[in-house]
C-alpha cells in the first residue's frame, strides 16, 4: 500500500525540528532513516498529519567520546556506528548488536536513535541500551532533558518521549578494558525479526571471576528486560565457566513472554537460557581477546 497524505517539513536544526513538531499537537513524527516508520505508514497503521525530517541536520550526525560515554547523535546511521572504530573499541556491545539489525540496505539508512525512539520490542539496539544503562537526551520546546534508559521504554512502540519532543542523542557508558560483550539471537530469517535475543556485557578479573554482569533480553516482554537473577548468579560464581549451568536454568525465571506465531511462551523461556549461555561464552571469549588473557 501507499502512505496517507501528510505535510512535510525539512528541519535544519534540532531546535527547528521541535518547533515544527509543536505545531501539530502530537500528530507529527520525526523522520530520520524511516526504516521502521515508513513501513508502518505504507501499511497505514500510522497516518501522522506531518513528518519533520531531520535528514538535513548534519549537526546531529556524530559519534563522540564525552567523558566516560560514547554519545551517538540522532542522525548517525547504524552502518556508520557499526563501522566506527570508536564504537568498536569503546562500545563493543553496540558494535556486536548492529549486524543483527536488518539487512545492509536497512542499516545504511536506519539510525541508532531512531531504533530507540521507535521502541520495537524485538529491536536489538534497545537491548544494548538496557544492558549498558544508557542515558537518553530528549529535546523539547524548553530544551534538553536527560533520562536513564530504565525510565525510557514504556511498552511496545511507546517511550517516555512526550508529544512535541524528539530523541536527540543517546549516551552509552564506555566499556572497561577488562570487559567482553556479545549479542546473540534466534529468529526465522537472517536479519528478520528476532524471536528472542540476548545482549551480554561482562567485566572480568584476572582470575576469570566476573565482577560485573549486564544481561538484557528481547522477545520476552513488551520492552527489553534486564535478566537480574542471571546477572547475580554470574557475579556470585567463583568463575564464569561454573556459572553457566545455573544461568541456563534461572534465566527464564520471572519472565512472562507472550506466545506468538513463531514460538510459544514455554519455548521462549527455555531459549532465553540457551542464549544467555551462548552470549556469556561469546562475551568471555571477546574479553580474552580484548584484554590479552
Amino acid at each position: 500500500m501507499k502512505p496517507a497524505k501528510f505535510e512535510f517539513h525539512a528541519a535544519r536544526s534540532p531546535e527547528e525540528a521541535v518547533t515544527l513538531l509543536d505545531r501539530y499537537d502530537g500528530d507529527a513524527r520525526i523522520l530520520a532513516g524511516g526504516q521502521s516508520l515508513v513501513p508502518l505508514m505504507n501499511f497505514r497503521v500510522l497516518q501522522p498529519r506531518a513528518l519533520v525530517s531531520i535528514n538535513h541536520c548534519p549537526e546531529l550526525n556524530y559519534i563522540r567520546q564525552e567523558d566516560n560515554y560514547i554519545t551517538v547523535g540522532a542522525l548517525c546511521r547504524q552502518i556508520d556506528a557499526e563501522q566506527s572504530s570508536l564504537v568498536q573499541s569503546r562500545c563493543p556491545l553496540l558494535a556486536a548488536a548492529l549486524p543483527w539489525v536488518g539487512g545492509v540496505a536497512n542499516r545504511n539508512r536506519g539510525t541508532v536513535c531512531g531504533s530507540l525512539a521507535h521502541a520495537d520490542p524485538l529491536a536489538e539496539i534497545p537491548a544494548v541500551a538496557m544492558a549498558l544503562d544508557a542515558q537518553l537526551n530528549i529535546r523539547g520546546a524548553r530544551g534538553l532533558r536527560t533520562i536513564p534508559v530504565g525510565k525510557f521504554f514504556v511498552s511496545d512502540l511507546t517511550t517516555a518521549i512526550e508529544p512535541g519532543e524528539m530523541l536527540e542523542s543517546v549516551k552509552f557508558p564506555t566499556a572497561s578494558p577488562n570487559s567482553g560483550a556479545a549479542f546473540v539471537e534466534v529468529g526465522n530469517r537472517a536479519h528478520g525479526f528476532a524471536v528472542v535475543g540476548v545482549a551480554a556485557y561482562l567485566e572480568v578479573d584476572n582470575e576469570g571471576k566476573c565482577t560485573l554482569a549486564r544481561l538484557a533480553a528481547i522477545g520476552v516482554g513488551s520492552t527489553p528486560v534486564r535478566l537480574r537473577i542471571a546477572e547475580a548468579v554470574v557475579e556470585r560464581a567463583n568463575n564464569i565457566d561454573c556459572a553457566l549451568n545455573d544461568v541456563a536454568n534461572c534465566s527464564g525465571d520471572r519472565l512472562e513472554p507472550a506466545g506468538g506465531f513463531h514460538a510459544d511462551a514455554e519455548y521462549k523461556k527455555e531459549v532465553v537460557g540457551v542464549l544467555v549461555v551462548r552470549a556469556i561464552k561469546k562475551a568471555y571469549a571477546s574479553y580474552k581477546i580484548r584484554s590479552g588473557h
Binding site: 500500500m1 501507499k2 502512505p3 496517507a4 497524505k5 501528510f6 505535510e7 512535510f8 525539512a10 523522520l31 524511516g34 526504516q35 515508513v38 513501513p39 505504507n42 501499511f43 513528518l51 525530517s53 535528514n55 538535513h56 552502518i79 536488518g102 539487512g103 545492509v104 540496505a105 536497512n106 545504511n108 539508512r109 530469517r189 537472517a190 536479519h191
Partner: protein
Amino acid sequence: MSEKTSIRLRVNGTFYERSADPRTLLVDFLRHSIGLKGAHVGCAHGVCGACTVQIDSRAARSCLHFAIDLQGSDIKTVEGLANGDELHPIQQSFHENHALQCGYCTPGFLMTIEEFLRHNPNPTEEEIRESLADNICRCTGYANIVEAVMDAAKKLRGEVILEGGKDVSP
C-alpha cells in the same frame, strides 16, 4: 492538507524536476514521475529488496524513502549501471551464469551487489550468501546468483578481461 510540490532529484547524474505529492515514495517517483522502471515494487515495506537503489553510493530501499526528503542526495538506479551498450561486469556475470529467471528481483540484487563488491572485492562464498540474505529471489534458488557474484568479483578485480562483453583473457 498536502499539495503537490516541485521535487528536484539527481538520478544517475541527471537532475529531474517533477511535481509530486510529499507522500510520493522514491520508487514511485522514479517509476511514474521520471519513467525509470528498473526499480521494482515488491513488498512495499522494505523486506523483499526488489526496489533497492543506491542513495549516496549505499544500497537503500526506494520503497522506504520519500522522494521529497532526498533532494540533495545522489540517487543511482539499475539504469545507471551499464556503460552505454556495454553491460556492467555484474550484469554481464548475471547474464553468463543464468542468475535470473523472471528477472523481477534482479535490479535490486545488482544494486546490492555493486555496493557489496566495492567494499569487499574478494569475498568468500559465505560472505556473498550473507550479502544476498536480504534480497528475495523465488526463481533461482540463489546458486547461480552466488556463482555470478563470484564471477563478477573476478571481473572487477581484473582477473577476466572483457571486450564487448566477451571474455578475452589470455
